[in-house]
Amino acid sequence: MKVNIAACITEPGSSERNKTGGWRVFKPVVNNERCIDCGSCWIFCPEACISRKEGGEYQVDLDYCKGCGICANECPTEAIEMVLEEK
C-alpha cells in the first residue's frame, strides 16, 4: 500500500486497521458470575472495546484491547482479572 504524502489520511475509519491488541501483555478475563451489570468497565474502557451482550454479559474485543487494566481496576466486584497473555 502506497503511503500518502505526509501520511495524510483521506478516508475515514482507517484507525480500525491498526489492531492495537498486539500491544497487550495482560488480557482482561471477565467472570460473569460475579458481574452485577453495573457497566463501569464499559464506561471506563478508553478504547471502547468492551461490549454488553443481550442479558448482561460483557465481552472484550481483543483485537483492540491494549491490556491497560482500567476495567479490572474499576470493577466494584473484582469480576475482571488481568491474566498474563501466553502463547
Binding site: 503511503v3 500518502n4 504524502i5 505526509a6 501520511a7 495524510c8 489520511i9 483521506t10 482507517s14 491498526n18
Partner: protein, 389 residues
C-alpha cells in the same frame, strides 16, 4: 514597473511577502528580525495587501499557527532568529514532516549563552537536519528575490517542503542597500497559485499529522529525502526562470574568480562581500565559492566546481562544539571524500565579531602555505583574543 529604492534588508523581505500575496503571517518579534514583521504589519494596516496577521505568544506558537494555516492551503510566512528558531525546533520537524510549503526568514543571530543579539549562523545550521530547505543570501536584493523563489520551490508538487531563507542579522536586516522591488504582476506570473494535494476542508475531511507507526514512519522520511532531491533540481530551475523574468539569478552557489584557482575559499551569506573585496584588493589568484543552497546540499555540483582546487578554506560563522570545526567544513570534507582536495577551516564572526579583510587575508595565506606543503593549523579561529582565554 519594478521600483528602484533604498531600504533595509528587513524591508526588502516584507516587500517580497507583499508581492507573493501571502495569506497568513504568524509571528513573534525577536531581534534582529523584528523589522520584518513590523513592516508587514504596517503594510497590512495601510491596506497594501490583505492577509491574516496572527500575533502569538511565542515562536513555538508562530510555527504551529503557520502549520495550521498552511494545511488549509493558504500561503504562509513567518520570520524569526536565534532563540526563536531554537524554540521552534520541534515544530520545524512537524512542518517539514507534514510537507507544508511554509516560508520563513531567519535573521541569523548567535545563540545564548552568553546572551548575544549579534550575527552568526549557528542558529540555522543547528536546524540543518530538520527537513527544511535552507538558502543563505548575501544581499538585501538576494533576500527579497530568494523569498519569492522560496515559495516557487516549496510549493512545487514534487517538493512540498518548507523553506528557510537565512540572512545575516544586522549585517543584512539593518543595513540600507539599493533594492529593485519587482512588479506584482510579474511575481504573479512567476508564482502560480498554491495548490496542495490535500487540504483541511470541512467539506472533504482528511486527517493530517496522524500516527505513523513503525510500518509507515521510515517511508515518510524517505519521501522527504526524495522531495529534497526534487528540491535541488527545482531550486536551479526556479532560479533560471527567475533570471528570465526579472533579469537576476544566483545559482545554487556563486563562483567568483574560480578560473584556475588552486586555493578556494568557501563561505555562506554576507561575508562573501568581504571575501570578494579581499581577493580583489590582493589581486590574489584565489577563488570563492559562496554556497547559497545549504539544504539540499548540491553535492555533485560542488564537487565538480572544486575539482581543480588544491586547498579549500571554509570560512564559517558556526562551530560544532566538541567536533572542533564548523559544520560546513565537516560537510565539505564529506562531499570531497576520495578527492585530493585539502580542506581547512576558519571559524569566524561568532556572536557578531567583525570579519575583516585581514582575517580573510590570513585565511588565504594559511591555504597558500598548505599548498606549498607547509604544516598549517586545520582550523583557525579568526580574530580570537588568545590572551583572553
Amino acid at each position: 514597473m519594478p521600483r528602484r529604492d533604498v531600504m533595509h534588508g528587513s524591508r526588502a523581505v516584507a516587500e517580497a511577502v507583499r508581492l507573493c500575496d501571502v495569506k497568513v503571517v504568524a509571528a513573534y518579534p525577536i531581534t534582529p528580525q523584528t523589522h520584518i514583521v513590523e513592516d508587514i504589519a504596517e503594510m497590512l494596516a495601510n491596506g497594501e495587501f490583505d492577509a491574516e496577521y496572527i500575533m502569538v505568544e511565542s515562536e513555538h506558537s508562530a510555527m504551529s499557527a503557520c502549520i495550521g494555516a498552511s494545511a488549509t492551503g493558504a500561503r504562509t510566512f513567518t520570520a524569526t532568529a536565534s532563540q526563536g528558531l531554537a524554540l521552534m525546533h520541534e515544530v520545524l520537524w512537524i512542518a517539514s514532516g507534514m510537507r507544508l510549503p511554509i516560508v520563513m526568514v531567519n535573521a541569523n543571530r548567535a545563540l545564548s549563552a552568553p546572551i548575544n543579539i549579534w550575527n552568526d549562523q549557528s542558529d540555522s545550521i543547528a536546524e540543518r537536519d530538520s527537513g527544511w530547505v535552507q538558502i543563505y543570501v548575501e544581499t538585501a536584493q538576494e533576500a527579497l528575490d530568494s523569498v519569492i523563489q522560496a515559495y516557487r520551490i516549496a510549493e512545487h508538487e514534487d517538493v512540498l517542503l518548507p523553506v528557510m531563507v537565512c540572512m545575516d542579522g544586522f549585517v543584512l536586516t539593518h543595513t540600507v542597500e539599493p533594492v529593485e522591488v519587482p512588479d506584482k504582476e510579474q511575481v504573479a506570473e512567476y508564482l502560480p497559485e498554491l495548490r496542495l494535494p490535500h487540504v483541511l476542508d470541512p467539506e472533504k475531511p482528511v486527517t493530517m499529522g496522524a500516527l505513523g507507526d513503525p510500518n509507515y514512519y521510515m517511508e515518510c522520511r524517505k519521501q522527504q529525502e526524495i522531495a529534497m532531491e526534487h528540491a535541488l533540481r527545482h531550486a536551479e530551475q526556479a532560479d533560471e526562470e527567475f533570471r528570465g523574468i526579472f533579469g537576476r539569478g544566483y545559482g545554487l552557489f556563486e563562483e567568483y574568480n574560480m578560473q584556475d584557482a588552486e586555493v578556494v575559499l568557501v563561505t555562506m551569506g554576507s561575508v562573501a562581500g568581504t571575501v570578494k573585496e579581499t581577493i580583489d584588493m590582493l589581486g590574489a589568484d584565489v577563488g570563492l565559492l559562496r554556497l547559497r543552497l545549504f539544504r539540499p546540499f548540491p553535492k555533485e555540483a560542488v564537487r565538480r566546481a572544486l575539482s581543480e582546487a588544491k586547498v579549500v578554506n571554509v570560512i564559517e560563522k558556526d562551530v560544532s562544539v566538541g567536533f572542533g570545526e564548523g559544520a560546513l567544513m565537516t560537510e565539505l570534507k564529506s562531499v570531497l571524500y576520495g578527492s585530493d582536495v585539502r580542506v581547512l577551516g576558519t571559524v569566524a564572526g561568532l556572536g557578531g565579531r567583525d570579519i575583516t579583510t585581514e582575517h580573510v587575508r590570513q585565511a588565504i595565506e594559511r591555504a597558500e602555505r598548505a599548498l606549498r606543503g607547509e604544516k598549517v593549523e586545520e582550523v583557525a579561529w579568526a580574530g580570537l583574543k588568545e590572551e583572553a582565554l
